[in-house]
Amino acid sequence: MPHSLLIISRQPPWSGPNAREALDIALAGGAFDLPLGMLFLDDGVLQLLPLQSAAQLQQKDLTANLQALSMFGVEDLFACHTSLVERGMSPNELSVEPIQVLRDHEIAELIDRYDQVITI
């Protein structure tokens, strides 16, 4: 049984490479059938805002790519409730579905469950 990996994505979508790198790890790992989870924390939850427009910035469409996670076998998706509330976001209006919204203590338990964790 391969080690399970939790990827914690905590950077916003358009201003740097980190959100893209976190997603690339998830897609590559999923393509190879690794047991993966992905948690959106801090500014990472901004990736989940609906109706964003990558074309305005001549960038690859990260938010469209995020939709592919389940096709790549990455179905354990989580978002931090505190981070959403801090940013005025509603747990019911996220662009990626299904996604579990977790309280802080549930995130501690989530991290605990995985063999390895990477925070980007």
């Binding site: 690339d24 897609l27 469409d61 790519n65 592919a68 096709m71 790549f72």
Partner: protein, 111 residues
Amino acid sequence: MKQLIVDGRTIALDKDGYLEDLHDWSNEVAQALALEEDIALTPDHWEILELLRAFYAEYQLSPATRPLVKYTALKLGADKGNSLHLNRLFNGTPAKLAAKLAGLPKPTNCL
């Protein structure tokens, strides 16, 4: 730079033979690309190429093998959404070759 000439039109290809510009794609271009790979396109091929273009329109990326199989099974059923069927159609490397013939970029998440 590689290129392909279809109906007198010059189509630019990258070093691996994928279209430089996704908008250059047409049925004739797909047939010319397939000819380079010694594949005669059948209706079975075409439905996968159309499926791939739909995948790209939705997700803005080319699928690796596993998501291609999953998406095909979802849209066309399990008798077509399996690696046996896809391997047979696309010379054993469906993700790479079907993306090429569908005019999509080379999938980045598959070896």
